[in-house]
C-alpha cells in the first residue's frame, strides 16, 4: 500500500485574554496566531481548547494543526485512503480533518486558512495515546488528492472548533497531542503522520464502435490499441 509522509506540519494557536478583547468568538474567528517553533517533533496541542483564569482574567486558547501531503504522483482517485496520526496525549477531545488552505510554508497568518465546509473525514471520537489514530478520508479528500499536487489538511477540535460551540466559562482544558514529521530524524521515526492509500483503478471501456465527427479524440495518460480479431 503506498504511503505519503506529511510535510509542512505544525500547529498554530490563538491565545487571548478577556482584558485584551478575548472571547470564544475572538479566538475562533481570529485571522492569525502564534506558529509553533520549527523543529518541534511533538505537541500536546494538536487540537486544543482551553478556557482558564490567568492573573484574574479569563483567557481562551485555541490550537489548530496543519499538514500537507505530496499527491503529485496520483492521477486516479485512490479507492480509499487513511490519514494516520500517532497520538501523544488526550483529554476529552474529539477531532476532525478538514480541508486546509494554508500556504506552502506555514505561517502565523494561516490560523484561519481552513475550510470547515469541506470535511475530509468524519469525527474521530477516540484518541489513542500510544498508537496511530485513523482518519478515513472521504470522497472530497480522495478527489482532492487527484486535483491538486498536494493535499492540505487541518486537524481541529470537533465539538468546539468545528461546530463553533463556546466551551463555556473557566476552567476547560481539552486537547489531543501528536507526533510531527520532525520526529523522522530520531528514534520516533516510525510515528510520523502519513497517508496510506489504495491506488485507484479505471476499468477499461470496451466499445464495439467509436466514431468522431468533426472533433478530436484525446487520449491522456494511455494509448489507443487497435487490434484485429
Amino acid at each position: 500500500m503506498p504511503t505519503i509522509p506529511a510535510t509542512n506540519d505544525s500547529h498554530i494557536n490563538k491565545n487571548m485574554a478577556a482584558n485584551f478583547g478575548g472571547s470564544w468568538d475572538a479566538v475562533h474567528d481570529a485571522t492569525s496566531g502564534v506558529l509553533a517553533a520549527s523543529a518541534e517533533s511533538t505537541t500536546t496541542g494538536m487540537a486544543r481548547v482551553v478556557v482558564f483564569t490567568y492573573s484574574g482574567h479569563t483567557r481562551w486558547i485555541l490550537h489548530r494543526t496543519f499538514m500537507e501531503f505530496d499527491t503529485s504522483g496520483i492521477s486516479v482517485a485512490p479507492s480509499d485512503a487513511t490519514l494516520k496520526i500517532y497520538g501523544l496525549n488526550q483529554t476529552s477531545t474529539d477531532v476532525i480533518a478538514v480541508k486546509g488552505t494554508q500556504a506552502d510554508t506555514l505561517s502565523t497568518a494561516d490560523f484561519d486558512n481552513l475550510d470547515v465546509s469541506v470535511p475530509y473525514s468524519a469525527e474521530v471520537a477516540t484518541w489513542s495515546t500510544s498508537g496511530y489514530n485513523d482518519f478515513t478520508l472521504n470522497a472530497a479528500a480522495l478527489q482532492a488528492m487527484v486535483d491538486n499536487t498536494s493535499l492540505k489538511v487541518a486537524i481541529i477540535s470537533y465539538d468546539n472548533d468545528y461546530l463553533d460551540v463556546d466551551p463555556g466559562p473557566p476552567s476547560v482544558s481539552i486537547q489531543a497531542g501528536c507526533y510531527f514529521s520532525e520526529a523522522s530524524a530520531g528514534a520516533d521515526s516510525d510515528k510520523i503522520p502519513h497517508i496510506d492509500y489504495t491506488e485507484g483503478y479505471i476499468a477499461p471501456v470496451v466499445w464495439t464502435e467509436m466514431e468522431s465527427k468533426g472533433s478530436d479524440i484525446n487520449i491522456k495518460g494511455g494509448s489507443l490499441k487497435i487490434g484485429v480479431l
Binding site: S32, V34, V50, Y54, A109
Partner: protein
C-alpha cells in the same frame, strides 16, 4: 537568523544593520523599509505586538526586539520569566515562578504540568524558563 516571507501578508522580513526591515513580495530586495512602531501601528494585517515580536524573533534571533527598540504599549508582554512574575505580582518582589504556577493551578483545578504548559503558551516570547 533568516529572512522570513509571510504569504498572508505577502511581505518578506529581513535584518539590516540590526533593524527589522520589510519589503513587499517574496524574497528580500534592495529597496526595503524599517519595521518601525509607527509602521506597525498602521498595519491591519499584523494584529498584535506578540505577532510582530514573533516575526522579529525569527528574523533577528532576539525575543525582545520591540522592547529593546523602545516600542510603547508593551507593558502587558513578558519577555523573561521575571517579567511573567512581575506582571502577576507587580508590587511583591518576594514572589517566584512557583507562585505563578500555583496561581494557575488553584483557581482552575489544573495539575502542575497543565498549569506550566499554559503559562508557557501564554508567555510564548519567553525562551528561558526554570520550570
Amino acid at each position: 537568523m533568516a529572512d522570513y516571507y509571510n504569504k498572508g501578508l505577502d511581505m518578506t522580513f529581513s535584518l539590516y544593520e540590526n533593524k527589522i526591515m520589510y519589503n513587499e513580495g517574496s524574497g528580500s530586495v534592495t529597496a526595503k523599509r524599517e519595521c518601525t512602531e509607527y509602521w506597525f501601528n498602521q498595519q491591519n494585517e499584523i494584529g498584535s505586538l506578540e505577532e510582530i515580536s514573533q516575526i522579529s524573533y525569527i528574523v533577528s534571533g532576539s525575543n525582545s526586539y520591540i522592547k529593546d527598540n523602545g516600542w510603547s504599549n508593551i507593558s502587558h508582554i513578558a519577555f523573561t520569566e521575571s517579567d511573567v512574575i512581575n506582571l502577576w505580582f507587580p508590587s511583591d518582589n518576594t514572589k517566584t515562578i512557583s507562585d505563578v504556577v500555583n496561581g494557575v493551578m488553584t483557581p482552575n483545578s489544573f495539575d502542575e504540568p497543565t498549569a506550566i504548559g499554559l503559562i508557557k503558551d501564554t508567555n510564548h516570547l519567553v525562551t528561558d524558563w526554570s520550570i
